[in-house]
């Protein structure tokens, strides 16, 4: 189900260095049509429907439409992603609607200490089998080995 852009909602992310959809797409599909200042999917048949662009679009301007060669028309699957949860609205072809809400993160964005609070590791550690934070992060006393 390739993404498409609603032209009345898309503002081309004029305030940003590049459109948010163009920044995020894992497959380099979203691009900017400079003649009209709108985003567009430049290769819909290589879209994985990963929803990365839909979730990140600040205007809510991007939607999915089921692959024309695969799916019946008329359904919609729409996310609204916040900082700690995501809400999904599922609209069936027959009009029925289901809504779901799921957590996405338990800590604040940007809060990760990637040193794990540990000092610079000593060079002797490089000669062991232990990774950073082990054995503490294994939650067992020692790293297993076949010779133990």
């Amino acid at each position: 189900m390739p993404t498409f852009v609603h032209v009345e909602k898309c503002d081309g992310c004029r305030a940003l260095a590049q459109p948010a959809c163009m920044y995020i797409c894992p497959n380099d599909l979203m691009s900017l049509d400079v003649s009209i200042g709108k985003g567009f999917n430049q290769e819909p048949d290589l879209c994985w429907e990963c929803y990365s662009c839909v979730k990140t679009c600040p205007q809510g301007a991007i939607e999915m439409r089921g692959y024309a060669d695969v799916m019946p028309m008329g359904s919609r699957v729409t996310p609204l992603r916040g900082t700690d949860s995501i809400m999904w609205a599922i609209q069936y072809r027959n009009g029925e609607i289901k809504r779901f809400k799921y957590p996405i993160r338990t800590t604040a964005w940007g809060s990760i200490d990637s040193t794990l609070g540990e000092p610079d590791p000593p060079e002797a550690g490089l000669r062991t089998q232990e990774l950073i934070g082990e054995p503490k992060y294994l939650h067992i006393d020692a790293l297993p080995t076949v010779n133990a």
Binding site: Q18, I24, C25, P26, N27, D28, E43, D45, L46, C47, W48, E49, C50, Y51, M64, G66, Y67, A68, D69, V70, M71, S75, V77, P79, R81, I86, W88, I90, Q91, Y92, R93, K98, F100, Y102, P103, I104, R105, T106, T107, G110, I112, D113, S114, T115, L116, E118, D120, P121, Q129, L131, G133, E134, Y137, L138, H139, L143, P144, T145, V146, N147
Partner: protein
Amino acid sequence: MPFEPAVETVECDVLVVGGGMAGCGAAFEAANWARGRGLRVVLVEKAAIERSGAVAMGLSAINMYMGMQWGENTPEDFVRYVRQDLMGLSREDLVYDLARHVDSSVHMFEEWGLPIFKNEDGHYKREGRWQIMIHGESYKPIVAEAAKNALGEGNLYERVFVAHPLLDADDPTRIAGVVGFSVRDYKVIVFKAKAVISAGGGATGVYRPRAQGEGLGRIWYAPWNTGSAYAMQIRAGAKMTQMEHRLVVARFKDGYGPVGMWFLLFKSQLKNSLGQIAEEYRTHELEEWAPYGTAKPVPTPLRNHLMLNEIKEGLGPHYLRTDEALQRMFMEVQNDAKKIAEIESDAWEDFLDMTMSQAHIWASQNIDPAKTPSELILTEPYLMGSHASATGAWCSGPEDVAPDGYHWGYNRMTTVKGLFAAGDACGASAHKFSSGSYTEGRLAGKAAVQYVLDNNDVRIDQGAADDTIRALYKPFNTYGEHQHETSRSDLNAHYILPKMALHRIQKIMDEYAAGPGNYYMTNGPTLERGLELMQYFREDCEHLAARDLHDLLRCWEVWDRVDSAEACLRHMLFREETRWPGYYYRGDFPKLDEQNWKVFVNSRRDPKSGEWELEKVPFATKIT
């Protein structure tokens, strides 16, 4: 005048190529061990790491977690499970190594903010023996945040596609860097590095998908995994292993939604059109594949094999009876409305966390899973080393676990000095999934730092770098030279555009290399013919044309698929047995041959001559 790009040079100690789960793990670990040593760790990624790799759209489960803290499983248990599912052939030292470390990665993910389902006793909720359930919509952004913080400012290069390795000017068996190009600016970047970690994804789009129109990209594994890791390894002259061991999986039809929770947790049954369960009445077909066919759990390829036999007999469609499973579960909770809502929410989250299109298919076909069963189908094959298959580079194992001959100084180093591999890129160690791929990246990242401290002098071959830079932009020049000769820019006798090249390789592989079009069947002469056609295709790829940077990316992705596919063809031709029925069949060698073929198939393509050499490598293990 040929069009020439600007050239930038980046110097670093450890270069991580690919920013998916393995690459983020490699960056995190290498950057930590580099702390206080004045070493620079750089990560280069063709997209944006916040949403790149196979986990870009999220996951609903972590499929590799031991639970050693609660005594749930040991690393040895896991090795024995993988041994059975892979039908005997794994680098068990590598598998063991992942299993003993993987829990620490998962515990970090939880500390960083990944929500994990818990039981009342505080243990992670199990979907199956090895799987735990997560609210994984933001799994990748969380992991990427940790990698970015570890790397620090200025060490992340996004929207740069790495196309070629650079070897050392004095020692052609040693890596010295890579060359890539920007997908946003007309610029080529030469990365000089003392160690390179190959952490790209597997290869999809090598085989013809079931949808050929707008749905061409709706395949089970990520369409942006284009074989770039394998191609770089092959071009550097690294030994590859098990490139014949491609993956085929049974998934929900057309959306390829996950089935693990339905089978393992919800106990749904797969039934043919007569309502029969193949594993119950076709046991005689499993016995032909003893000892693996007669042991439990039934290996992934053998489950495919039974389903395929039924399809050939006209017993489809196959329905996963979600309706029966959910009605039984509703009964078990006495039809309590609140509990039914929770079950329904979990069922939908499985898709909405990781395969939204499957939810869309349910909505488009008015499918209520509690009332209507859903079709399952077998996918086209994918080359990947992280799921129930094992393509990738032949890598050094951990010193304390590796049998003789499986260890050469640095964990996860390929046979090219200084070139490491992790995730899909590291072969013969399946079932690592997201957490194991991340963990393997960590192992490679640490070993690469050690390698750099031990081996400090490296010099790129500048002449080779200059040749590569010119070759990278050739598709632009081909297009510029010939585009005005015809009345359609996409139809020209002098070039082919990358989309048609993609269709061509998919046609060759589907028809000659055991694609779904032939029920995954091939034989020696058919593979030989496929190799002939692949040679023509390889020559024609010299005439690929690019209209813009997006096309240039697609051109080089096609090239990467060519190298990956040729390795696959040659390995399938070399292995004269059928080891994994349901993945592929050699019609001329239709049986499992434990006596002669319980060995790894390794290959090497000479970077200078382009000649391939294949060999058998004995299986060995220290694990009982």
